[in-house]
Amino acid sequence: MDGLNRPDLSLRQKLLEMNWIFVLLVCMTASVGFAMLYSAANGSVYPWVSRQMLRFGAGFLVMIVVALTDIRLWLRYAYVLFAAILLLLVIVEFKGEMGMGAQRWIPLGFIRLQPSEFMKIALVIALARYFHGCSIDDVGRIHYLIPPLLMVAVPSALVLRQPDLGTALMLVFASTIVFFLAGVRLWKFVVIFICGLASLPFGWIYYLRPYQKARVMTFLNPESDPLGRGWNIIQSKIALGSGGVFGKGFMNGSQAHLNFLPEKQTDFIFTMLAEEFGLVGGLALLTLYTILLGYGFVISYRSHSQFGRLMGMGVTVTFFLYVFINIAMVMGLIPVVGVPLPLISFGGSHMIALLWGFGLLLGVFVHRNILIGRRGAHEEH
C-alpha cells in the first residue's frame, strides 16, 4: 500500500515516455475545430474561436498534468472523485442554472461547468477501479455486480432527469463496454438487454419528456414536420449532400452561412465541415478520429494493469461514442440527442472533460509498465 505514492519514474523520464504523437493529433483535431468556428462566425475569432482556444489551453494543461500523475493516485481516489462529481450532479439537479431547457451547468467564471460531462470520465475511473479489484471469479458472481450497476444507474438517472438523453445514453453505453471488458458473462448482457427492451414501452410512457418523444418521432420520419422539429435534420442532410465530394470551400457553405443550418457552432459543426470541405474533408476528420481511437485502443491494450486497461478502454469508448453519436446524428442515422463533436464543437465542459480523459490515457501509456496488484499494491507481484 505504501508503494502507491512512491514515484517509480522521474518527471524527466515521464516526459520522455509521453506519447507526443497522440498529443500532436489532439492539437490537430482541436485546430480543425478552431478553423470551423472561425468560419461559423463568418471569418471572425469572435465570439467562438477566442474562447475555445482559452478552454483548449486550460484543458491541454489538465491533460499534461493528469498524464504525469501516477495512475495509482487515480486508483486510490477513484471513489472519492466519483462521489464528488455525483455530488455536483445532485447540486445542478436542484440548484443549477436553467439553460437549453435542461439543468446542466454550474457557472464557474470562464466556463459553465457541466458535471455530467465529467461524470463520463469519473464513472469510467470508478468502474475500472471496481473491476480491477475483482477476480474473474468475482465477476461471475451476481452480487458482485450490484455495486457497479448502482454506480451506473444513479448518475444516469440524475442526468436523464435533467433531461439529457444523450449523456445518459453515453454513460450507459460506456459502462456496458467496461462491464463487457471486465469479463461479465455474455448471457447477463442478453438478460439485461431483453429486460431493457421489455421496459421500453414503460419508459416511453413514464420517463421520456414530450420533446424527447418528438425527437424520436422526428428521426423516424423527419419530413412529417419539415418546418418544425424535422427542420434541423433535413437542413443538415441538405448541407452535407450539397457539399459533394470536394465541398463548397472554406467559409462558403451556403447552408451554414445563411443560417439554414442550426447550431452550426455546436452540435452541427460536422455538417458545416462536410459542407465546406465535402466528402474529402469529412473523411479526413474521420481518419484523424480513427487514428486517435487506434492509439487509445493500443495504449489500453498494452497496459500491464487491469485498472489501466479498463480505464484506457473506457476513455477510448467514451471518445468513440462522442464521435459516433454526433456524426450519426447529423447524418440522420440516429435521432437528435445533443452530443457535441469532441474537441471541435464549441463548448467548455466536454472539451476539458475529454482532455482529462486523454490525460488519463496518456497516464496509462506513461505508466504502462507499472504493475498494480488487485488491492492496489504492485509489490504483491
Binding site: 465477476v139 471488458l181 451556403s254 445563411l258 466528402l279 481511437l293
Partner: protein, 627 residues
C-alpha cells in the same frame, strides 16, 4: 495469479471484438457520408439552391395612354412613401421616432398603434409603409431630419395617375388592386400592390399596357433576408397606347355637359376615329388607385345618375325623332315613297280605335319627306312606317349600325334594341301590333339605341353610305416599334347616294332652314355650318285625359319623368367630316338642350381641326364618287 492472466486474456479477446465493432460503426459513418455526398449529392445541391435562391418579380412600368396629339392622359407617377424598418431598433426608439415623424408629417392617429402591432407580427427586415403619396415638402422635411429618425426611409414606388381626372374617366377606365378571381397564370398579379385595369381602355387593353414582369434572383438567408442579387432579368415595359381622342375637345365637351346627365360621342365620319366620348356625370379615376372608402363607393353606386356607367356605350335610350332618318331611308330605298310623295298631317292619325298624335297639336298640313324631317312631323312617319312594316325598318336600322354591338375597344358596350316581329314573339311572347310599328316609326316604343350608335348612324348617312365602325385605338408603341392599328376595309352599306343626299339635305334644313326645329342652334360662320336632327323621346305615357287638359310642360315634371333630349349632327355641310350624337337624360326638348350643345361641339371640333391628321379609310364596294 493465473486467474489474473485469464482475466487479461478475456480482456484481450473482448477488446479485439470491441475494436472490430468500432471499426464497423466507423465504416457505417463513411458509408452514410458516401451516400449523402456522392450518391444523393445532386438532389441535395438542388435543395440547397432552393433554400438559398429566391426569385423576386419586378413589376414593369405600365404603358402610358396618350391622346391623338400625344398628350398624356394616363401616366405613372413617382409615389414617395415613408417606410419604417426596425431591424436592430428598440421598440422604445420606434415610439420616439414615430412621435418625431408625426411632428413633421400628418400621420393618422392609429398609425403608431398599427406600427407597433405590425412590428410584432412581421419579420424585422420587412419595412412598414407609414404613408404614401408624400408631397415634395414632406419628402424634404424627412430627408433633412433623417439623422433623428432611425429606421425611417423614403421609398419610391409608381402609381397610376390620370392628370385630367374625371374628364376622360369613362374612356380610360381606372386601375385598382387585383381581386382573387382575377388571378391567372401571370405571377405579376400576385405581387402586393400590383394594379390591374378595371374598366375602360385600362381593362380592354390591360395585357398590352401591363407589359411583362422581370425577375431578380436573390440570395436569401434562413429568415428570408436578402443577402445579395445574383442575377437580374429586366421585364418589358407596358406598351404606350395612343387613342383617337382629342383631349382638348374632350375637355370642352366635358365642360359643356357639366351638371347634365347624359353622353356625347364625336366621331370622324370617314374613318371612325372617336374624337371625344363623354359620359356625365363622371368620377375621379385616381380615387380607385389608393383604394376607395366604402362610403365613397356607396355614393358612386347609389347615385341615380350612374357616374360609373359609360352612357355613351352602355346607355340605351329611345332615339325619338333622330330615328326618323332611318325610316325615311327605308321608305325611299323600298320605293314606299319618293321625295315628292305628300301626306296630310291634321295633328293625328287613327288606327283602329287608337289615335296617334303629332307633336304639333293642330298638324303640319301637307308634308313631304324634306318637310317631314325638317319639321319632324310625326304623322308623316306614322304613315310611311305603317307602309313599311317593322321588319323593313329594323333591317335598315341594322345597316346603319343599330341593334348590335359595334365592337369598340371598351368593356360594357350595349347593343340597343331593334325590334322585329319574330323578336317580339320570342322575347315578349305576343304578336306584333301595327300600332307598335307606328310608335317605332318615330323612334319610340321598343326601339333603343346608344349614343355611339346614333353617332355611327349619322356618320354612315353623311359619309356616302360606308359602314364605318368606331374605334378608339390609334397606335400601340412598344420600346422597339410602333404599330398603327390597321383598319379593316370599310364596305358600302348599299344605299343609293341620292337617297342619302335627300336625307342629309333635310337634316341641313333642320338647322339652317327657315322652319327647321333646330334653327336657333345653327352655326352662323360660313363654311362651318352643320346639319342635324333633334329628338325628344318620352319616358312616360301621356294619357288621353292629360292630353285633353293640355300636356304638362317638362319643367313641371320631376326630373326622372322629363323627356330625353337628343341631337345628332354633322359638319361641315358641304363636306361632312365630324358627326356628333348628344343625349341628355331628361333634358327636355331636343332643340332646347341637346342642339345648342351639339352646335358648340361641332364648331369647336372644326375650329380645332380635331380630326387631323386624317387617315383616309380604305373603301370597297360600289360608291358613286369619293366624298
Amino acid at each position: 495469479m493465473h486467474r489474473d492472466t485469464d482475466r487479461h486474456k478475456l480482456f484481450s479477446r473482448r477488446a479485439a471484438v470491441l475494436g472490430g465493432g468500432k471499426l464497423l460503426l466507423m465504416s457505417a459513418l463513411v458509408g452514410r457520408m458516401y451516400y449523402l455526398q456522392v450518391v444523393e449529392s445532386e438532389r441535395y445541391k438542388t435543395l440547397a439552391d432552393d433554400n438559398r435562391i429566391n426569385y423576386r418579380l419586378l413589376a414593369p412600368p405600365r404603358g402610358h395612354i396618350i391622346d391623338r396629339f400625344g398628350r398624356s392622359m394616363a401616366i405613372n407617377q413617382k409615389n414617395h412613401q415613408v417606410v419604417l424598418s426596425f431591424e436592430g431598433v428598440k421598440a422604445t426608439d420606434i415610439r420616439a421616432t414615430l412621435e418625431a415623424l408625426t411632428a413633421m408629417i400628418p400621420l393618422s392617429d392609429g398609425a403608431t398603434h398599427r406600427v407597433l402591432r405590425e412590428m410584432r407580427r412581421r419579420r424585422s427586415f420587412v419595412p412598414i409603409t407609414l404613408k404614401e403619396n408624400l408631397n415634395w415638402e414632406e419628402v424634404a422635411r424627412i430627408e433633412v431630419n433623417a439623422p433623428d429618425l432611425p429606421g425611417v426611409a423614403i421609398d419610391v414606388g409608381q402609381t397610376r395617375f390620370y392628370p385630367h381626372g374625371p374628364d376622360v374617366a369613362h374612356v380610360l377606365g381606372y386601375v385598382a388592386a387585383v381581386s382573387g378571381k382575377e388571378i391567372d397564370d401571370d405571377p405579376l398579379l400576385e405581387l402586393p400592390g400590383f394594379r390591374i385595369g378595371k374598366s375602360g381602355i385600362e381593362k380592354a387593353h390591360d395585357l398590352t399596357l401591363r407589359g411583362a414582369g422581370g425577375a431578380s434572383q436573390v440570395e436569401v438567408d434562413a429568415i428570408g433576408r436578402v443577402m445579395r442579387e445574383l442575377e437580374r432579368r429586366e421585364g418589358q415595359a407596358g406598351a404606350e397606347i395612343s387613342l383617337t381622342i382629342d383631349l382638348e375637345l374632350q375637355k370642352m365637351v366635358t365642360r359643356r355637359l357639366k351638371n347634365h346627365s347624359g353622353a356625347v360621342v364625336v366621331m370622324d365620319a370617314h374613318n371612325g376615329d372617336v374624337l371625344s366620348m363623354v359620359s356625365s356625370p363622371s368620377f375621379d379615376p385616381n380615387a380607385f388607385n389608393t383604394g376607395l372608402s366604402v362610403q365613397n363607393w356607396q355614393e358612386l353606386v347609389s347615385n341615380p345618375r350612374a357616374p360609373l356607367t359609360n352612357k355613351a356605350i352602355a346607355g340605351q335610350y329611345p332615339p325619338g325623332s333622330t330615328f326618323k332618318m332611318v325610316v325615311a331611308l327605308a321608305a325611299l330605298e323600298l320605293g314606299v315613297v319618293t321625295t315628292a310623295s305628300q301626306f296630310f298631317c291634321s295633328g293625328s292619325v287613327k288606327l283602329g280605335d287608337a289615335e296617334f298624335h303629332c307633336w304639333k297639336k293642330h298638324g303640319h298640313g301637307t308634308v313631304d319627306l324634306s318637310k317631314g324631317i325638317t319639321q319632324s312631323c310625326d304623322v308623316y312617319f306614322y304613315e310611311i312606317a305603317r307602309r313599311l312594316g317593322i321588319d323593313q325598318i329594323s333591317a335598315m336600322a341594322r345597316k346603319l349600325g343599330f341593334g348590335q354591338r359595334l365592337g369598340l375597344d371598351l368593356p360594357g358596350e350595349q347593343s340597343g334594341l331593334m325590334p322585329t316581329k319574330s323578336w317580339k314573339r320570342k322575347a315578349v311572347g305576343s304578336s306584333w301590333q301595327q300600332g307598335e310599328t307606328l310608335i317605332a316609326g318615330i323612334g319610340q316604343g321598343y326601339v333603343l339605341a346608344t349614343p355611339l350608335q346614333l353617332a355611327v348612324m349619322t356618320a354612315r348617312l353623311v359619309n356616302g353610305g360606308y359602314a364605318v365602325v368606331p374605334h378608339l385605338i390609334r397606335s400601340v408603341t412598344t420600346l422597339t416599334e410602333t404599330s398603327t392599328v390597321i383598319q379593316e376595309e370599310i364596305s358600302s352599306i348599299g344605299i343609293a347616294r341620292r337617297h342619302l343626299k335627300a336625307v342629309s339635305d333635310a337634316m341641313a334644313n333642320v338647322v339652317n332652314g327657315p322652319t327647321g326645329t333646330a334653327r336657333k342652334s345653327r352655326i352662323q360662320r360660313s363654311g362651318f355650318e352643320m346639319g342635324g336632327k333633334t329628338g325628344t323621346s318620352q319616358v312616360r305615357r301621356i294619357s288621353k285625359a292629360e292630353r285633353d287638359v293640355g300636356v304638362r310642360k317638362n319643367k313641371e315634371l320631376p326630373w326622372e319623368q322629363r323627356d330625353h333630349s337628343l341631337f345628332v349632327g354633322y359638319a361641315p355641310l358641304n363636306a361632312p367630316r365630324y358627326v356628333v350624337a348628344v343625349v341628355i337624360e331628361h333634358g327636355g326638348d331636343g332643340s332646347k338642350t341637346a342642339a345648342p350643345m351639339a352646335r358648340d361641339i361641332l364648331y369647336e371640333a372644326q375650329v380645332r381641326n380635331a380630326a387631323r391628321p386624317g387617315v383616309a379609310p380604305k373603301v370597297s364596294g360600289f360608291g358613286d364618287e369619293p366624298v
